[in-house]
Symmetry: C2
Subunit: 326 residues, 2 copies
């Protein structure tokens, strides 16, 4: 295993310290990354989190127009309730706090325990479960939460920044999740630092369709095929579950080890597919946003926009991982 780390045990803290050193708008305590300026009175607080290894998700999305805090577990391990409680209390500006939780059993359980334990703060929760690849999985009952988490965090974050009440922020988060779908394909495994070796074997000539973001098995393995065919597999799965129509937000996301040029090759095919269905790409992201350490591969996430969601997507954002308009 070759990694740019000091020790396998310190990698999460070391990376968070680096993020805070690079972005003075952030601070970190107990593996929770906060906006340095603290909660704004009257603004709904947004807290997300989950296992580390998916950077920039979630800590890289803390900042103006997005999250108020991200609770980071060890690599691929849910954060425990205590820091979630601390984060929830810490970001409350008196208007309540929204928990944005990816649908993995550990995350769901620990965020629920934290929400129950918090006193004096109104807490709402939204569960993200956009991955159409499989029902139930290694760490999940029901569908997994993947790329759409970024859409939920951005759009709910923009509405919270405008001063909307908790009920409305939670409602828009739920709506974004309902309007979003994702599908991922792996070319290689990933190697968690503590494991020291790839966590699954994928033969040189095969890819895994419907991969999870922790290497959970997908639908099936098939021979490596041209990008066009792989993009079509992903888009057929998405379109078969939620027919594409109207204006779309589209993300072609790298799993961490795939070069940007290849993601653009995939994006061209995804855009052609969408055009063929009579829908339109009006917003897009291409890059590494919801990753699995050094895994090679990609996922596609789409969200069916309306005017309000498009406006909230376009609103200014200033985080390490997503920035525009400021």
């Amino acid at each position: 295993m070759k990694k740019l780390i000091n020790t396998a045990g310190s990698v999460v803290d070391d990376a968070l310290n680096g993020m805070v050193a690079a972005h003075p708008t952030l601070r970190v305590r107990d593996k929770v990354v906060y906006r340095a300026e603290g909660p704004r009175p009257g603004k709904v607080g947004l807290v997300s989190g989950g296992g580390s290894g998916h950077e920039p998700l979630h800590a890289g999305f803390v900042g103006y127009g997005m999250l108020d805090a991200a609770c980071c577990g060890e690599i691929f391990t849910a954060p425990v309730p205590d820091p979630i409680i601390e984060a929830t209390m810490g970001v409350d500006g008196g208007a309540g706090v929204l928990h944005i939780v990816k649908n993995y059993t550990g995350d769901v359980l620990n965020f629920e325990m934290a929400a129950d334990a918090v006193e004096g703060v109104e807490v709402a929760s939204v569960l993200v479960n956009d991955d159409v690849a499989v029902e139930d999985s290694l760490y999940t009952a029901g569908r997994r939460g993947t790329g759409a988490t970024l859409f939920v965090e951005k759009i709910a974050g923009a509405l919270a920044e405008e001063g909307a009440p908790l009920g409305e922020v939670a409602a828009v988060a739920t709506e974004v999740n309902q309007r979003s779908r994702s599908f991922g394909i792996a070319l290689t495994s990933c190697t968690p630092p503590a494991a020291g070796k790839p966590i699954f074997d994928l033969p040189e000539a095969e890819v895994e369709l419907g991969i999870g973001i922790h290497g959970e098995p997908g639908r099936r393995r098939v021979p490596l095929a041209p990008a066009r065919e792989l993009a079509d597999v992903a888009m057929d799965a998405i379109h078969g579950d939620l027919p594409l129509r109207g204006d779309l937000l589209v993300m072609v996301n790298g799993m961490g080890g795939t070069p940007l040029s290849e993601l653009y090759v995939v994006f061209a095919e995804v855009a052609a597919y969408i055009k063929g269905k009579g829908a339109r790409v009006t917003r897009s992201l291409v890059g590494n946003y919801v990753t699995s350490l050094d895994m090679q591969g990609f996922s596609v996430s789409i969200c069916l926009l309306d005017e309000t969601l498009a406006r909230l997507w376009d609103a200014p954002v200033e985080t390490p991982g997503l920035r525009w308009g400021r």
Copy 2:
């Protein structure tokens, strides 16, 4: 070889088509990416380019506040003079055009031939040669141009956007290059699609210090070490060549296959090193900006800022690879 491509021969065109599909502010012709709106009368045009495989450099830096056109060669291959001539004529708004050229023999030669062949457009050139690792290399006489190219393109682009004349834009580009240094370390080789296999062998327990962005040999190979030690090697090389002082712009750049979390681990060490020398990180970038396909590893680039350079760095920019303030 596992890659998200259609064919090895079409990868550059396919990726550029994807970039233009994702970013309607751009258009592409003959592997040259332009701003879609065309030249602005009176603004100095900025043209850069080089071999592909370093994305987002260069095409991903075309847009407001940065480049007007990027000439993309095949993977790791300089663009030929004809598209450079076409790009130079195409972006001229009557105020002349600056060529920003990384110091590789093929690039230097072809940009020079293009500059000589262009008629009716005043052309100035700046050579970027920031890499302190080696004098002369596989494709270079003198030092190689790497990460500082981004600094030059951003800062000169901001000054051009303000309406400064060609002489001033060329002067600030030269100054940024003179004030910048870089050093890279590879954990693995990269695999160009046409080669179909890694272009050099690096044993599992070794890293290459001073790697070039096309896999050119560096200073030496050493056993894999903690991130802190590798960061110190890079920073000692930079500091030994250009002593760190005052306010610094610092980029910890991924080579394409390294996860963001590891780059933040390195950034923490780089920031500690700089603090130890009594200098200050006041601007930073952490991510994949000047890459080598799927290579694992990182480079550090620093620029000694002054007030003017910091102001131009902070100016609004809107490109696929770098965006803020708009």
